[in-house]
């Protein structure tokens, strides 16, 4: 029965990693940019959710808070893309990468300036009720249950969006060959903005679930979360959407497993060990396609 509990723990953590990893992988897939500010989108989302839910601030109903958080994250990503990344569209990739790190630091410092360095408590039970269900002799709280379900639903919707809609088709086309897509009449800038918005929307969902599961919001929360999700994206194969999902869950489960075995201090180490092994055995990641460099 405790094995099942550990499994649930791992899946909960993995769900959040996967949602964040999707944002990394989608943006990388389309403009080959590692958006290091992505973890900080979640931090901002966490604060939006906290302020809108908390009764000491706005005390809005959960549904409104959910919409505000997701829309807030999407707007932030669109603004960041427009102001920071678009002017560098034709600049060397390293410049954009450094800009992404700059945006990340800017967001963290702005958050510290406005909300202070002291962590704030997330009102978990205003979003997801306390308690849970007991299946046999296993108790599963509502928080992990809803986290896992919400993540799975988001992934199904995303897969539908990318595989079955016209916008998704355009996204895949831009990802495959930007210039050819442009020649076929696809507005590349719109598609890139759209991709950022979708990735950030997932980050918004991630922020809500993160807040509910780990109710401490602080300006640095995106750093470690972003790093772990980045590892998940790389393990799964950066640029691949199913890869990010698999990578996220794999990393979450590895952490839970290592803890269950009593090596909790090695959990982060174990994650990076997996990363090293994957990079050695399969450098493009689990679902990554090997790409030939055109010379």
């Amino acid at each position: 029965m405790f094995f099942v509990s550990h499994l649930v723990n791992g899946l909960q953590l993995g769900s959040i990693y996967a949602l964040v990893a999707l944002g990394y992988t989608m943006v990388y897939g389309i403009i080959k940019l590692l958006n290091f500010a992505h973890g900080d989108f979640i931090m901002v989302g966490g604060y939006i959710a906290l302020f809108s839910l908390s009764t000491t601030f706005f005390g809005l109903p959960p549904a409104v808070a959910v919409v505000l958080t997701i829309v807030g994250c999407m707007l932030l990503a669109v603004v960041v893309e427009k102001l920071a990344y678009r002017p560098l569209r034709n600049a060397p990739r390293i410049s954009v990468l450094i800009t992404a790190i700059g945006v990340s630091l800017l967001l963290q410092n702005l958050a510290q300036y406005f909300f202070g360095a002291t962590p704030m408590n997330f009102p978990t039970h205003l979003l997801i009720p306390a308690g849970g269900i007991t299946m046999g002799d296993v108790f599963v709280a509502y928080t992990p249950l809803i986290t896992i379900i919400a993540a799975l639903i988001s992934m199904v919707i995303l897969t539908y969006l990318v595989q079955r809609t016209k916008l998704g088709k355009a996204m895949r086309a831009v990802s495959e060959d930007t210039e050819a897509a442009q020649l076929m009449g696809i507005n590349v800038n719109t598609i890139i903005t759209f991709t950022f918005a979708v990735g950030a929307g997932l980050a918004g969902i991630g922020a809500l679930l993160y807040g509910a599961g780990y109710p401490r919001i602080e300006h640095t929360l995106g750093v470690m979360l972003g790093l772990m999700a980045f590892v998940a994206a790389v393990v799964g194969g950066i640029g691949s959407i199913p890869g990010a999902m698999i990578g996220g869950f794999a990393i979450g489960l590895v952490e839970a497993l290592v803890t269950a075995l009593g090596f909790s201090e090695w959990r982060i180490g174990a994650v990076f060990l997996i990363l090293i092994i994957v990079l050695m055995v399969r450098p493009t990641g689990i679902m990554g396609r090997s790409m030939m460099e055109k010379v």
């Binding site: 599961g213 952490e255 201090e265």
Partner: protein, 394 residues
């Protein structure tokens, strides 16, 4: 022309005499020192993970210093360095304060940075007092050397761990215990060691020990392992930022019938968490309770509240006392010697005077033992019906 020269000479001589007289007066001490300004350094994390504690300490000590300065006479100036709870930054901060010729230092706030600074301060004979670094190693090195320059107004880790083990056995009648600690935090390790040792002595069986990294947000795995053993008590020597996550997560993994025990790192938890149902029934030890009925304590609470709009926590109270101890010793040193306050001789004399401290602050009566640790009583707080309640002295 000649007259002018004589006049100049007379004036110069008068000035020399005046100067000598001034020196004599300073040596005699008391009233003459009204123009004296003494600069002390403050090392505190005002940003970063332990900024909560740093801010409380900063407010507490400044409240005392401002009240002291308002009385006139000796004036205390402070230079503050934000060490962010980081050991190497604290050393940088110490060097910077030392270069600015401070007479003494209040700080640091947590054990790690304080222990990083102490060996340097010891070599420089720099008097230091911390309001909240509770690790045994703050005043005594691993090889047994006592850092004679280092004092504190809080009690030490082994004391807290021992007390909580005794409390579990004597009051809660616990038979089995679990410990969840962080082996990245000196404070946490110190408490775990003392708790385990005392538990063994008292026949309290420690069935499982789990640890977590300092920046952990996910404790469910460790808590699941603990739930598996169903212990009577779970001792969590950690800080508010951990408890705020450990509390709700312990409820989620189905840890039931286990009483949570904590130490002074828990101070402020109830104020931080909006919903404390998950830590209902927990007991933790602290150095200060605003419920104590004492005119000095109540005055302190009113003054603090007037300034910051909130009830002072343990850190603020201990910092208030730390400033009181230091300034009391500075006054006694000024009265007894005529050294320059920026000189090493003055600092050595000040250290000797700090060791002879004997006063009552807002956290109780304070005198130091041979390891510069204060002898105090512990306050036990209980989380009941969503609020912190003063359980009693233990």
């Amino acid at each position: 022309m000649k007259k002018l020269r004589i006049l100049c000479l007379v004036v110069a001589m008068l000035m020399v005499i005046g100067l000598l007289a001034g020196c004599g007066g300073g040596g005699g001490g008391n009233g003459d020192a009204d123009a004296d300004v003494i600069t002390i350094g403050v090392l505190a994390p005002l940003t970063g993970g332990v900024a909560q504690f740093g801010t409380s300490v900063y407010r507490g000590l400044n409240l005392y210093i401002d009240q002291f300065n308002a009385r006139g006479g000796l004036q205390i100036e402070t230079i503050t360095f934000d060490e962010e709870g980081n050991a190497s930054l604290a050393v940088t901060g110490y060097n910077s304060l030392f270069d600015q010729n401070v007479t003494a230092i209040i700080g640091a706030v947590t054990s790690g940075p304080t222990m990083a600074v102490v060996p340097f301060a010891f070599e420089d004979n720099m008097p230091m007092i911390t309001a909240s670094a509770t690790h045994a190693g703050v005043t005594v090195a691993d090889d047994g050397t006592v850092f004679t320059n280092m004092f504190r107004s809080c009690f030490i880790d082994p004391f807290q761990g021992q007390k909580m083990a005794e409390f579990a056995v004597e009051v809660l009648e616990a038979r089995t215990a679990a410990i969840l600690f962080s082996n990245e935090i000196d404070y946490s390790i110190g408490l775990r060691d003392a708790f385990e040792e005392k538990a063994r002595e008292l026949g309290l069986e420690v069935v499982v020990v789990e640890n977590f990294p300092d920046d952990a947000v996910d404790f469910r795995g460790q808590l699941t392992n603990i739930a598996q053993h169903n212990p009577d008590v779970l001792f969590v020597p950690a800080y508010v930022r951990h408890i705020a996550l450990i509390g709700p997560q312990s409820a989620e993994v189905g840890l039931e019938g286990t009483t949570l025990l904590g130490a002074d790192g828990w101070a402020g938890t109830v104020a931080f968490m909006e919903d404390v149902s998950s830590i209902e029934g927990a007991y933790f030890l602290t150095g200060f309770s605003p419920d104590v009925d004492d005119p000095m304590v109540q005055q302190f609470i009113r003054d603090y509240q007037a300034r910051h709009g909130s009830i002072p926590d343990m850190f603020a109270a201990q910092a208030f006392d730390a400033a009181m101890i230091l300034i009391d010793a500075i006054e006694r040193t000024l009265a007894a010697t005529d050294y320059n306050p920026a000189s090493e001789e003055f600092r050595i004399a000040l250290i000797a005077n700090m060791a002879r401290t004997n006063l009552t602050g807002v956290t109780g009566h304070i005198a130091f033992d041979e390891f510069n640790n204060p002898q105090k009583t512990a306050v036990i707080l209980n989380v009941a019906d969503g609020v912190e309640v003063f359980w009693g002295y233990f």
